[in-house]
C-alpha cells in the first residue's frame, strides 16, 4: 500500500502544480502603495504574434520601473474579441491590464454583432508601437514600383492577386482604402496572418502582399522581398528608401490600417494607478536597452501617453466608420 500512497502523493503534487498556473487570481488592492504584486497583462492573441512579442519584450524591461513584474497572459480567440471582452470585465484593481491593437479593436466592434465590450469600457494607458502597412513583392517581381502595380490593376481589373492577413483585418482595410482612392480593383486573398500571407508570396502563389512592416522586415533584409510603398506619412528607418503613399501616388491615403499597439485597463481603475502604469511604460519606452532590441526586431516605438491614446481611439473609430462599407463592396 505504501507504493500506492506514494503515487497518490505524486499525483496530487502534479495537480497542485497545474492548478498553480491555471489560477492567477487577482485579490484586493490598496491604492496607497501600488503595485504590491505582479500585474497581469492580457494579450488577446496567441503567443508568438506581434502584440505578444511586444508585451513580452516590455515585460522583460519594466520590472525596475514598475517595482513588480508584468506577467503576460495569452487569451486568444475570435481575433481578439475574447481577450478584450475579458479585459473589459476584469476586476478594476489595477492588477489586470491588457494589450490593445488599433484599428483591430475598432473593426471587431463595428463589423460584428453582439460584441460584449465597448470602446468606452477601457482606460487607455498608453500607445507603444506603430506598425504601418506596406505593399511588398518578390525581389525578382515584374513590378518595379507601386505605380506598376496600379497600372497593371487598372489594365486588368480584379486580376491582381494580393495576399494579406484577413478577413476583416487592419491589413485588408488599408488595402481596400488604398484601392478605392487609387481607383483600382484587385483580388484580396485572406490568409490566417501576415506570416502565411508572406509565405504565399515567397512561394510565388500571389502577385504581391499587403502586410505589416514588422512581419516583412526579416524578408526584406534577407533580400527576398522588396517593399514598394509605405502607407504612412512619415518615413520608416528600416525601409528608408521606400516611398510613402504620398510620394508614390501623389495623393493622400490615410494610414488607417496601421497597427497601433498599446495597453489599456478596465475603465474603473483609479486614476493614480493609471498614472503609475503610464510612467512605468514610459520609462521602458525610453530605456536605451529596450530601444536597441526593439529596433533590431524592426519594431517602431512611438510612445503616446494616456490622453493622446484616448484621442487616437476616437480618431481611428471615426475613420473606420467612414470606410467600413468597403468590406461589403468587394
Amino acid at each position: 500500500m505504501n507504493g500506492q500512497k506514494r503515487i497518490l502523493g505524486t499525483l496530487l503534487a502534479l495537480v497542485a502544480f497545474v492548478a498553480s498556473f491555471a489560477a492567477v487570481a487577482p485579490s484586493m488592492a490598496s491604492a496607497a502603495d501600488y503595485p504590491t504584486k505582479p500585474v497581469v497583462a492580457i494579450v488577446p492573441f496567441s503567443p508568438g504574434g506581434g502584440n505578444d512579442i511586444l508585451l513580452r519584450l516590455v515585460a522583460k524591461y519594466i520590472t525596475p520601473a514598475l517595482g513588480e513584474a508584468l506577467i503576460v497572459e495569452n487569451k486568444p480567440g475570435a481575433g481578439g474579441q475574447v481577450g478584450w471582452t475579458a479585459l473589459s470585465k476584469a476586476r478594476a484593481d489595477g492588477y489586470t491590464i491588457g494589450a490593445t491593437s488599433l484599428p483591430s479593436m475598432i473593426l471587431i466592434k463595428s463589423l460584428r454583432e453582439d460584441v460584449p465590450f465597448s470602446l468606452d469600457d477601457f482606460q487607455y494607458i498608453c500607445n507603444f508601437q506603430v506598425d504601418p502597412i506596406i505593399w511588398v513583392v518578390n525581389a525578382d517581381s515584374q513590378f518595379g514600383t507601386a505605380r506598376d502595380i496600379v497600372d497593371f490593376a487598372k489594365a486588368n481589373p480584379k486580376k491582381l492577386n494580393v495576399a494579406g492577413d484577413g478577413p476583416q483585418s487592419n491589413v485588408q482595410l488599408q488595402h481596400l482604402v488604398a484601392a478605392k482612392l487609387l481607383e483600382i480593383s484587385s483580388n484580396f486573398v485572406s490568409y490566417s496572418g501576415s506570416g502565411p500571407a508572406l509565405t504565399a508570396l515567397l512561394g510565388k502563389q500571389v502577385d504581391m502582399a499587403a502586410t505589416t512592416l514588422s512581419s516583412a522586415i526579416p524578408h526584406i533584409e534577407g533580400g527576398r522581398l522588396r517593399p514598394l510603398v509605405l502607407f504612412y506619412s512619415a518615413k520608416m528607418e528600416a525601409i528608408a528608401d521606400t516611398p510613402t503613399a504620398k510620394e508614390a501616388f501623389g495623393i493622400e491615403i490615410p494610414s488607417i490600417g496601421m497597427a497601433l499597439r498599446g495597453v489599456a485597463a478596465p475603465k474603473d481603475v483609479k486614476a493614480e494607478q493609471i498614472a503609475t502604469l503610464e510612467k512605468a511604460f514610459k520609462a521602458v519606452a525610453e530605456s536605451p536597452e529596450f530601444l536597441e532590441q526593439a529596433e533590431s526586431l524592426g519594431l517602431a516605438i512611438q510612445f503616446m501617453g494616456s490622453q493622446e491614446s484616448t484621442a487616437l481611439v476616437t480618431e481611428t473609430a471615426a475613420l473606420v466608420e467612414q470606410y467600413k462599407s468597403l468590406f461589403e463592396e468587394k
Binding site: G3, Q4, R6, I7, L14, V15, V18, A19, F21, A22, P47, G48, G49, D52, I53, R56, A59, K60, I71, V72, N74, K75, P76, G77, A78, G79, Q81, V82, T85, A86, L111, R112, D114, K158, K159, G166, P167, N187, V189, S190, Y191, S192, G195, P196, T199, A200, L202, G203, Q205, V206, P218, H219, E221, G222, G223, R224, Q293, S296, L297, G298
Partner: protein, 499 residues
C-alpha cells in the same frame, strides 16, 4: 559549408556549459509533465517558460525551450498508452495500439517503444534541420493553397483505413468531424457559422478542448461504472527496458518512413504533428505484413505514430529558422522567444547569430537523448496508475480535464464545450463508433475548406483553371496519386474481405 562547420564548433562550445546542460534536464522534466497531462500542450509548456528565460543568455534560454518542445511531444504518449487519453493532439494515433498493448499487460513495452521511436524520429529530424535546412525550406515554399487542399483530402482518405472494423460507423464519425470543423468564421469571407453567439467558437471548435472531452470523459465514465475491461499490470518499466527499446530496430524501414513523413509534414507550414502521426500510422498499417494486428496492440502502430510526431519537431523548425515562418503553433512560440532574445529569424539568422543558432540546434540533439532516461524514470511510476482504484483515478482524470480545458484560454466557456463534447464522446464509445476519424475530420476539415476557397480565389473562381493547375503541378500530382492509391487499397481490402 564553412558557416555550418564554424557554427557547429562555436555552438558546441556554448552548449558545453554545465548550466545549459542542467537547463536541458530541467526543461525535459517540465516538458514530460506538461506533455503527459491531457490538456496541457507543448505550445502551452513553451509559452509558460518564455518569461523564465529572460534572465538567461540566449543560448541557455533557447536550450531550455527546445528541451520542453522535444520532451512534451514525446510524453503525450504516456497517458495515451496507459489511460487511453492522448496527452497532446499528436498522440491521438498512439492510443489506437498503445492502449490495447496496456490491456494485454504490455504497457512497459509500449512505453519503451514509444520512447525509443520518439528519440529516433526526433534525432533524425534534427539531423535534417542541421544539414538540409535551406533546400527543405525552399521545398516548403512550393506548397500553395491547392497543394494544401489536396493534402487535406489525402488526409481524409486515411479515415477509411482507421475504420476498417466498421466502415459505416467510421465514415459517419469522419463526416461528423468534417461537419464540426465548419463551426466558426469562414476563413475567407469571415461569415460566422454555428457559433450560437459564443465568441470562443469564432476560430472554430478548439481542437485540444475537443480532444480532452472526446477521450477523457468517456474513459472516466467507464472507469467509474466499473465496466472498464480488466487491465493486466505489466512488468514494471525499467527491467529489460533496453532490450525492449532495441526492438524498434527490427523495424528499420518503418522508422525511416515515419521519420520522413514527420519531417515533410513538419516543414509544411500549417500542417502539424497530429496529421503527421495519422499519415505515418496509416502508411505503417498499409505496408505492414501484420496489418491485421493494427488497432489490437500492434507495436508497429505505436512506433509509427510516435516516431512521426517527434520527427515533426526538426521539420517545423526548418521554415521557422530559415524563413521566419513557423511550421506550427509551438514553433511560432519558439520563434517569439528567439526574437525576445534579440535574434532575428530569417535568412540572416544563420550568419548574424551563428553560434547561438547552432548551439540551439545541437541542444535539440541533447534533448532527444535526455528525455529517454528521464521519460522512462517517470513512466516507471506512471505505469502504476492503472492499478489506482477507480474511485481515485476517475475524479482525478475529470479534474485534469477541467483544468486542462480551462488553462488553454483561462476561460470557463472552454470547460463547458469540453463537457458537451465529452457527452458526444461517451455516446460514440457506447455505440462503438471510432473517435479517431472525428478528430481527423476536425483537423483537416477547416484546412480543406479554407485552402479550397483560397485556391479558387487565386484562379478567380474558375474551376477549369484550378483543375488545370492541379494537373500541371508535380507536387499536386504526387498527392493525387497517393490519395488514389490509398483509396484503391482500401476498396480492394473491403472487396477481398467480402470474398
Amino acid at each position: 559549408m564553412e558557416v555550418l562547420f564554424s557554427g557547429i564548433a562555436k555552438g558546441g562550445l556554448l552548449l558545453l556549459d554545465p548550466m545549459t546542460l542542467f537547463l536541458i534536464l530541467a526543461g525535459t522534466v517540465f516538458g514530460i509533465i506538461v506533455g503527459s497531462l491531457p490538456g496541457l500542450t507543448s505550445t502551452m509548456g513553451v509559452a509558460l517558460l518564455v518569461p523564465v528565460t529572460f534572465g538567461m543568455s540566449p543560448a541557455m534560454g533557447l536550450a531550455l525551450l527546445g528541451a520542453i518542445y522535444c520532451s512534451s511531444t514525446y510524453a503525450g504518449a504516456i497517458s495515451a498508452i496507459l489511460l487511453n487519453i492522448p496527452g497532446t493532439p499528436a498522440n491521438c494515433c498512439t492510443l489506437l495500439d498503445g492502449y490495447p498493448m496496456t490491456q494485454k499487460g504490455e504497457s512497459g513495452r509500449a512505453i519503451a517503444l514509444s520512447t525509443a521511436g520518439s528519440a529516433v524520429g526526433g534525432f533524425l529530424s534534427i539531423f535534417a534541420l542541421l544539414f538540409l535546412a535551406p533546400p527543405l525550406a525552399e521545398f516548403a515554399l512550393k506548397f500553395g493553397a491547392q497543394e494544401y487542399f489536396l493534402l487535406a483530402i489525402f488526409g481524409v482518405s486515411v479515415i477509411a483505413s482507421l475504420s476498417e472494423r466498421n466502415m459505416i460507423k467510421g465514415l459517419i464519425s469522419g463526416c461528423f468531424g468534417l461537419f464540426l470543423s465548419i463551426v466558426g468564421m469562414h476563413p475567407l469571407t469571415g461569415n460566422v457559422r454555428f457559433t450560437f453567439g459564443i465568441a470562443e467558437l469564432y476560430n472554430g471548435l478548439p481542437l485540444v478542448v475537443a480532444l480532452i472531452g472526446l477521450y477523457s470523459i468517456p474513459e472516466v465514465i467507464s472507469i467509474l461504472s466499473g465496466r472498464q475491461e480488466a487491465v493486466k499490470q505489466s512488468r514494471s518499466v525499467g527491467r529489460g527496458v533496453f532490450g525492449q527499446m532495441m526492438e524498434i530496430f527490427h523495424h528499420k524501414i518503418l522508422l525511416l518512413r515515419a521519420t520522413v513523413i514527420g519531417i515533410i509534414v513538419g516543414i509544411i507550414p500549417g500542417a502539424g504533428s497530429s496529421i503527421a502521426s495519422f499519415v505515418a500510422y496509416d502508411d505503417a498499417k498499409r505496408s505492414s505484413k501484420n496489418s491485421g494486428m493494427f488497432g489490437k496492440g500492434s507495436p508497429e502502430g505505436v512506433i509509427a505514430s510516435e516516431t512521426a510526431n517527434n520527427a515533426v519537431v526538426g521539420g517545423s523548425l526548418v521554415p521557422a529558422l530559415t524563413l521566419g515562418v513557423p511550421g506550427n503553433a509551438v514553433s511560432a512560440v519558439l520563434l517569439g522567444g528567439l526574437m525576445i532574445h534579440g535574434l532575428k529569424p530569417g535568412p540572416v539568422l544563420f550568419i548574424e547569430n551563428n553560434a547561438i543558432v547552432y548551439s540551439f540546434i545541437l541542444s535539440l540533439f541533447v534533448s532527444n537523448l535526455v528525455f529517454v532516461p528521464v521519460g522512462l524514470f517517470i513512466a516507471r511510476y506512471c505505469v502504476r496508475l492503472i492499478e489506482t482504484p477507480a474511485s481515485i483515478l476517475g475524479p482525478l482524470v475529470v479534474g485534469l480535464a477541467v483544468m486542462g480545458s480551462y488553462a488553454i484560454n483561462m476561460s470557463m466557456v472552454e470547460v463547458w464545450i469540453m463537457m458537451a463534447i465529452g457527452l458526444l464522446g461517451y455516446l460514440m464509445k457506447e455505440f462503438d463508433v471510432p473517435r479517431e476519424p472525428l478528430v481527423l475530420g476536425l483537423v483537416l476539415g477547416s484546412m480543406a475548406e479554407g485552402e479550397l476557397a483560397r485556391a479558387m480565389s487565386l484562379v478567380h473562381g474558375s474551376v477549369l483553371s484550378l483543375i488545370q493547375g492541379m494537373l500541371t503541378s508535380p507536387i499536386s500530382l504526387i498527392i493525387i496519386g497517393l490519395t488514389l492509391l490509398s483509396l484503391w487499397q482500401g476498396i480492394k481490402k473491403q472487396l477481398l474481405a467480402r470474398g
